[in-house]
């Protein structure tokens, strides 16, 4: 029974990673850049909910919507101010800028909210699911996170495949020049990508903080990096890959905590990244990279 409990805890953690990884993978898939600030947008999303719910006593659902709006504006602003001027610059310059934005957000949060840990109120108030006379408890936030994940995954896939803007995104990801010559506004399309990615970050932030209710300016940092590992693991750019990668990573992390060593669990997680990059550089569901000859 304890194995099942560890497994469920792993899925719980993994589903949060998956949700963050979806944002990573979406931006990478379209704009071909790693938005390392994604984890910190999640942290900001968490603070918005904390302030509006715990501080102002707002209805959790309304506060999530406000948080999504704030994160969307934040994401689009970051793209406009920090990344768009670097369109066409080397990927390394963009990557370093993204890391800079990440530290900027952390330090703004530090300045505004202070470094002390805030106790986040779980916004998922549904009862937990108890199986086998209470021997196995599945937290309601876990169930909600998995369901939200699946909804977002299906929604994103439908959006990208079946709508005009989604097709424009795919076109931009494949060939920006050709897309432009078809009359597609490349900058606008990438801005929409950031808007969607960042609004997902808000949802991820709320669910992350509900599952692990300690909020600091660095809350988004580690889950962000692990979600990045998850996205690479599943095949960066692939929407189902992000989900599978996230869940697997969460399960591996929790099982290694339980059965190997809790100190080594992070080392194991990052070793997986190295092994995946060595054995299958494109990840589990990643697309093959074609060389034009």
């Amino acid at each position: 029974m304890s194995f099942a409990a560890h497994l469920i805890n792993g899925i719980s953690l993994g589903s949060v990673y998956a949700l963050i990884a979806l944002g990573y993978t979406m931006v990478y898939g379209i704009a071909k850049m790693l938005n390392f600030a994604h984890g910190d947008v999640i942290m900001i999303g968490g603070y918005v909910v904390f302030v509006t719910v715990s501080g102002m006593g707002m209805n959790p659902l309304a506060s999530i919507i406000i948080s999504m709006a704030v994160c969307t504006i934040l994401g689009v602003t970051i793209e406009r101010v920090a990344y768009r001027p670097l369109r066409g610059a080397s990927p390394l310059a963009v990557l370093i800028t993204a890391i800079g934005v990440s530290y900027l957000l952390q330090n703004i949060a530090l300045l505004v909210f202070g470094s002390d840990t805030k106790a986040f109120t779980n916004v998922v108030t549904l009862p937990n699911l108890e199986l086998f006379d209470g021997q196995l408890v599945i937290k309601s936030v876990t169930i909600v996170t998995v369901i939200v994940n699946i909804i977002i995954m299906v929604g994103l896939t439908l959006f990208v495949r079946k709508t005009k803007i989604g097709r424009a995104m795919t076109a931009v990801s494949e060939d920006q020049g050709a897309a432009q010559l078809m009359g597609i506004n490349v900058n606008g399309t990438i801005a929409v990508t950031f808007a969607i990615g960042s609004s997902l970050a808000a949802i991820a932030g709320v669910l992350l903080c509900s599952a692990y209710p300690a909020l600091t300016p660095y809350t988004g940092s580690m889950p962000g990096i692990k979600a990045f590992v998850a996205a690479v693991f599943g095949g960066i750019g692939s929407i189902p890959g992000a989900f599978i990668g996230g869940i697997l990573l969460g399960v591996i992390e929790n099982l290694s905590k339980a059965y190997i060593s809790s100190q080594l669990s992070d080392a194991i997680v990052f070793s997986i990244l190295i092994i995946v990059l060595l054995v299958k550089p494109t990840g589990l569901l990643g697309r093959k990279i074609q060389e034009k000859v």
Binding site: T170, A179, L181, G183
Partner: protein, 252 residues
């Protein structure tokens, strides 16, 4: 007045004068060829006409509208569409979706309507599907609609690129070496396709080509570029018999 009027177009890359005092005048409905040795600046002219490069001097007029200095998207909206020397389809997308990308600006609905799948989303997507299928039928590609574009045979990919360009509803179609890499049979089929596009859509076509059989077979007028300058201009047969042109191609 001519549909496309280009006056004294010029661009330099560093010290290299890639195109110099380029003039061309293409009448509506004409099939016009732009030829010249490798490196003469033909694709550069296309890149200038589509706003990929901005000219250092000169003017581009389409149907009396000044396109000089306009951005690629604006030029596309003004009615210039093109294909590429090396095929640049959206290879991972279905054939039908490639054409629908070309229809992008003609069937509007907002991002929010797309996310929430409001009634207008369904209506517009349905119209787009019908229009795209119609175009595929015109090019005989309807059986391939669900194929991934990169899995199409080479000749069909060329056709799809033309279909995608036509989806933007252009006034002027630019074809960059459409016959590149084709065998004689495919080239012959392509010539029929190009003629058909001109007649069926009443289209004005400016094409770059090295295949002299194609050029002499379908082009009504020619401009020859050499080292970025116009070497000769006029009716196809006159130009092809011009001794200077023969020298430029074959050496003296």
């Amino acid at each position: 007045m001519a549909l496309l009027e280009v006056k004294n177009l010029g661009i330099s890359f560093g010290g290299l004068r890639a195109v110099n005092e380029f003039n061309i005048s293409v009448e509506k409905g004409q099939l016009y060829g732009l030829i010249g040795p490798n490196g003469a600046g033909k694709t550069t002219v296309f890149n200038l006409l589509t706003g990929v490069y901005q000219p250092d001097e000169g003017a581009i007029l389409l149907d009396g509208v000044n396109l000089t200095g306009k951005k690629t998207i604006e030029i596309c909206k003004a009615g210039v569409a093109r294909t590429f020397q090396n095929i640049r389809l959206f290879g991972d997308m279905p054939v039908l979706d490639n054409v629908k990308v070309g229809l992008h600006n003609h069937y509007p609905y907002s991002t929010l309507e797309g996310i929430l799948r409001l009634p207008r989303y369904h209506k517009v997507e349905k119209e787009m599907n019908e229009k795209a299928m119609e175009l595929l039928k015109v090019f005989g590609l309807e059986d391939y609609a669900d194929y991934q574009a990169e899995n199409l045979p080479y000749g069909q990919q060329r056709k799809l690129e033309i279909a995608r360009a036509m989806a933007t509803d252009p006034k002027l179609l630019l074809l960059d070496e459409p016959a590149a890499g084709m065998n004689p049979n495919e080239t012959k089929e392509l010539m029929d396709t190009i003629r058909f596009v001109r007649d069926h859509f009443d289209m004005t076509i400016l094409l770059i080509e090295h295949d002299m059989k194609l050029v002499s077979g379908i082009c009504e007028r020619l401009t020859v570029l050499n080292f970025g300058e116009v070497l000769a201009q006029g009716d196809t047969q006159d130009v092809l018999n011009n001794p200077e042109v023969i020298t430029a191609y074959l050496g003296s």
